[in-house]
Symmetry: C2
Subunit: 266 residues, 2 copies
């Protein structure tokens, strides 16, 4: 563990690493994550790379601030604005199956006669009618394209795990044979948003997350180091899965402390 | 076409063959399907093998009768009672993600501490909370088992195609890696219910349906002949798909007339 390679920047997942989510509330901060974030702002470089699809970056940052975690809005990366930019650059006219709070990112994008579906909605705004509307648009396209904000199997709320958008992408693929483009972890394109925000090469960066496949495995596939925390959606059976983290720690604070004590090397 | 093999019995799909469904109404009879059914009751043997999962056999028959199609309740086969019988025989304790109208079939079956999920719900009773409840039960099982009433990609309503239960089975499989057991067409186990009801060998029977893969392909895989009608969910691109019907007809009446005119041979 001593020596190791330099760690010049941190990408942190948000949900399950900084705080645990509770349905229709702000959730609860994970112990000492606020201290860890303050420490990284002072002694290293840090950005927050989340698959959160329900809120604008501003509202993500505000919620964390209400929980006492001083994350700056401009350091938050979520899929919705990245997807909107992708639509602009590729002249896509999306049908938006997303939360109202992220609609602002799509302002000015033509959504008439859609040539793709953008999906980032689960929980309260999810309904049979809404997924069926997405289905009908895809089934009528010669080359159906679904852009999904993350491709997770489940997300964790304090009351238990919840089926996530990746499952509904699988549902739409089953019924329409659509191409599925994930703009969210673990896609390389999305991790590159984090690398660009830090202005670093992947080998300088560690990604800290609670999702073994999406956070840790995805980061490693891009040349970063991946750290698993035992908070959020972590489950003991992760240790039987085919991804080996560069480090496993009980929580973000422990991971940060361990790396800092080692002279920012891992 | 002349000669051919004897046709001693008919299995008819219901939705898209006898009538077209309309959300929250009885739907509309397909032209001359009532005459075709009367003719088969008089001159051959007929049973109705449907993947309809929302209504009891009694209510399926009653609706058809209201539309002027004289189908007898005792000749209707739908998945729910077959699934219930399967649960009884295999000592399964299902979590029921089904319509209220079919709950009666599960009377007396222990549903406490479930060891499988039974899914047959789409449309109005489908919600994020309900699929999430099914997800949570499956994710906690050592060997998760999902029994699905049919595995279709979509069903057809008069207002357009609708994403079907097969898609949500794919969603749950994606998130929980569950085993999926389809009790509905095209499973052999389910087609055997139709053969047993007719008391015939598969080579004596023709299946008439609007779903190329599930009705026609499924029947052929069991040794029956499969007839495609150009009603219901039929789409021109079916002709590019890897199943070749033994006969394609514009509607049930035309298929029945053609076979009868040929001396009940095909």
């Amino acid at each position: 563990m001593s020596n190791g390679r330099a760690v010049n920047g941190f990408l942190l997942d948000i949900t399950g690493v900084l705080y645990n989510s509770i349905y229709k509330s702000d959730g609860v901060a994970i112990a000492k994550s606020a201290e860890a974030v303050d420490f990284l702002y002072q002694h290293s470089k840090v950005k927050f790379l989340s698959n959160a699809k329900g809120n604008s970056n501003r509202n993500v940052a505000r919620r964390l601030q209400r929980l006492g975690i001083n994350v700056r809005e401009e350091d938050v990366i979520t899929p919705a604005p990245v997807v909107a930019q992708y639509c602009r650059e590729n002249k896509l006219r999306p049908h938006l199956f997303v939360r109202d709070d992220v609609l602002e990112y799509f302002d000015g994008i033509d959504t008439s006669s859609p040539n793709c579906v953008v999906m980032g909605e689960v929980e309260e705004g999810f309904s049979f009618d809404r997924i069926n509307r997405a289905f009908r648009i895809l089934i009528d396209m010669p080359k159906p394209l679904l852009i999904t904000m993350g491709n997770g199997k489940f997300f964790q709320r304090v009351d238990g795990p919840c089926i996530d958008v990746g499952a509904f992408a699988a549902a739409l693929k089953f019924s329409t044979n659509c191409e599925v483009l994930n703009i969210g972890k673990p896609s390389r394109f999305y991790f590159e948003q984090g690398m660009n925000a830090l202005g670093m090469k992947p080998e300088e960066i560690v990604m800290v997350g609670d999702d073994l496949m999406s956070d840790v495995g995805g980061a490693q596939a891009c040349g970063m180091r991946g750290i698993q925390v035992r908070t959020g959606k972590w489950r003991p059976d992760f240790e039987k899965m085919p991804v080996t983290p560069d480090l496993t720690a009980d929580c973000l604070y422990d991971a940060v402390k361990l790396i800092a004590d080692n002279g920012f090397r891992l």
